[in-house]
């Protein structure tokens, strides 16, 4: 592992320059250039055809929906849309590429010259976007072989299901002047892009699943020198935390090199979750890829009317929507931060409110009980198996006093087991709260008899001791007692 300079010391001596290349896999039904199923995963090599296997004589045809997604992404990033552009072949040899070239775009990206504003702790940072271009993903490699042996037995296995998945590359211009906030702003930019992709509906944008990954470039220049230093590029960083960590590490590593009078080598690097990077290959020159216009695909010409039609489909910008909903729901900043930090929860809460629940109760269920269940199963909140309408239905029963929050958890069990509507589950499982004075009164009498010392304290005026009796009664009635009524009965009987 390399020497590192103290982060604050680097900041005193150097200015960092940042550049981010983000790859986003589109969630179109089919691949970029063929009609193969584009849903992720599946048994190996079940989603391939002559086109995505690169068999001789096959001809690619562009997925129109993917082009629309590319334009919508560009528009959401305030880009210009090229009125005419072509695909290009990027030539290189690697087993995850079936054709020995990647169909990409070179000097004619579909979208260019955009920008986004990123808010970090009340400060706004402008990030300039150089380009958004269309390309295709590669297959998946599994490295296999006899461990402990360097030669001979090692080999790789290739699954081409992912080969040809539409991939958008979003490239920033060099971002200067961020100083010590460089890693934090990079992270916020990634979070912004992720949110934007989900709002546009163009990608699942799950970084942990590789739907969105970032190549993070950073270089250092002597403070105030206004030049660009030699950069390193940390490849395929796939979490927000890792983007921040990789940049911090690279800044400290480069600081130590430069301070020791050494040079930073222009190279790619790999991020390790333990918090460091290791060198990859030396960065090749663009000319080594021998780009040339793709002869098998005709140009894409985005006319003004098509572009305007697509612009009309853009969603409300996520930051604006967040502010609007926070005001409407009356959430404190901290409450809203929890919502923002739980992917998908803002949509689910909104739908639950639309279905009739209060915002506070919708937030309580989605970020509490249901988030816990999603975490336990390692799935997204939206996949937890309960709908917004069902959550509103459960809350309606709580509001009516039919069940309490604790019994509501059993109703969610029933919903997940497919036992019917919340009302049917309450009836079938006998979950309704008992508020009938006859049954409750008998339970209270029994509890007083069983806990004479507690009863005496209450008679002596220690009203808070009633909690112990309520607890005992709730336990005995398996949570189904109407706690407020039980409390009233206890105090009536012991005053």
């Amino acid at each position: 592992m390399s020497d590192l300079m103290d982060y604050d010391e680097v900041m005193e001596r150097f200015d960092p320059a940042l550049g981010l290349e983000v790859h986003v896999e589109l969630n179109t039904a089919t691949k970029m250039f063929c009609g193969c199923d584009n849903t992720p995963g599946g048994e190996p090599n079940t989603k391939t055809c002559p086109v995505c296997l690169g068999l001789p004589g096959s001809l690619p045809v562009v997925n129109g929906k993917a082009v629309e997604s590319a334009i919508r992404i560009g528009l959401a990033l305030n880009c210009q849309v090229a009125s005419w552009c072509r695909f290009a072949r990027k030539n290189y040899f690697y087993p995850d590429m079936t054709k020995n070239f990647q169909t990409s775009q070179y000097d004619e990206p579909i979208c260019f010259d955009g920008h986004v504003n990123i808010d970090v702790d009340g400060e706004t940072y402008r990030i300039d976007i150089e380009r958004v271009h269309m390309e295709e993903d590669a297959g998946k490699l599994t490295h296999a072989g006899v461990t402990g042996r360097i030669h001979g037995a090692d080999y790789s296995l290739v699954d081409y299901n992912r080969a040809g998945t539409p991939l958008m590359e979003i490239v920033t211009r060099p971002i200067l002047g961020l100083g010590e906030r460089t890693p934090v702003v990079a992270r916020a930019y990634m979070a912004h892009l992720r949110e934007l992709m989900v709002a546009l509906g163009v990608s699942d944008a799950r970084m942990e699943a590789g739907n969105m990954r970032c190549d993070a470039n950073v270089s250092l220049a002597p403070k105030g020198a206004h030049v660009l230093g030699t950069r390193s590029e940390t490849k395929n960083v796939n979490s927000l935390k890792a983007v921040e960590g990789a940049l911090r590490h690279e800044i400290r590593r480069q600081g130590a090199l430069l301070a020791a009078g050494e040079r930073v080598i222009q190279e790619t690097r790999h991020w390790h979750e333990e918090g460091w990077t290791s060198p990859g290959r030396s960065k090749e020159e663009a000319e080594d890829y021998r780009y040339f216009p793709e002869p098998d695909l005709v140009p894409v010409a985005a006319g003004a009317s098509w572009v305007e039609q697509l612009r009309a489909t853009l969603p409300e910008p996520p930051a604006q929507r967040r502010a609007r909903l926070q005001a409407a729901w009356g959430f404190a900043d901290l409450e809203m931060r929890d919502v923002t930090g739980t992917p998908g929860s803002i949509d689910l809460i909104e739908a639950t409110v639309t279905a009739g629940a209060s915002a506070a109760s919708a937030r309580k269920w989605w970020l509490g009980e249901l988030a816990r269940r999603a975490n336990e199963r390692g799935i997204e909140l939206a996949e937890v198996g309960v709908s917004a309408a069902q959550v509103a239905g459960v809350q309606r029963l709580v509001d009516a006093g039919t069940i309490n929050d604790k019994l509501a958890r059993a109703v969610f069990d029933g919903l997940l087991a497919g036992e019917g509507t919340p009302d049917e589950i309450v009836a079938a499982r006998g979950l309704a709260v008992v508020s009938d004075d006859g049954a409750l009164g008998a339970a209270v009498d029994a509890a007083i008899a069983a806990h004479p010392d507690v009863a005496q304290k209450i008679r002596d005026g220690k009203v808070q001791a009633a909690g112990a009796l309520i607890g005992a009664i709730m336990k005995q009635m398996r949570g189904k007692a109407d706690a407020a009524r039980v409390r009233q009965l206890i105090l009536e009987k012991l005053s």
Partner: protein, 98 residues
Amino acid sequence: MALTTADVARLADLARIELSAEELERFAPELDIVLAAVASVSEVAGSDVTPMSHALALTNVFRDDVVRPSLTPAQALAMAPAVEDDRFRAPRILTEEG
């Protein structure tokens, strides 16, 4: 611009074509003649001629985003030199991903 044998060796390496020393010596001047011919075409094509990459003046040939049947794994793997666990088996990879 005269191509050197080193230029040709670099191009051959990028294209994964193995050339002997004699071939490098022979191809450098031959490729030079090809490049000169292309350069003279560039001279004729003035700024009023739009570069073309395609024989047809078509744009926006798109496919609907509708899934079509794929090959079966057996079909996909039929011509592979080596197969394991329904995957293509490739020789050990020495360099990293592009």
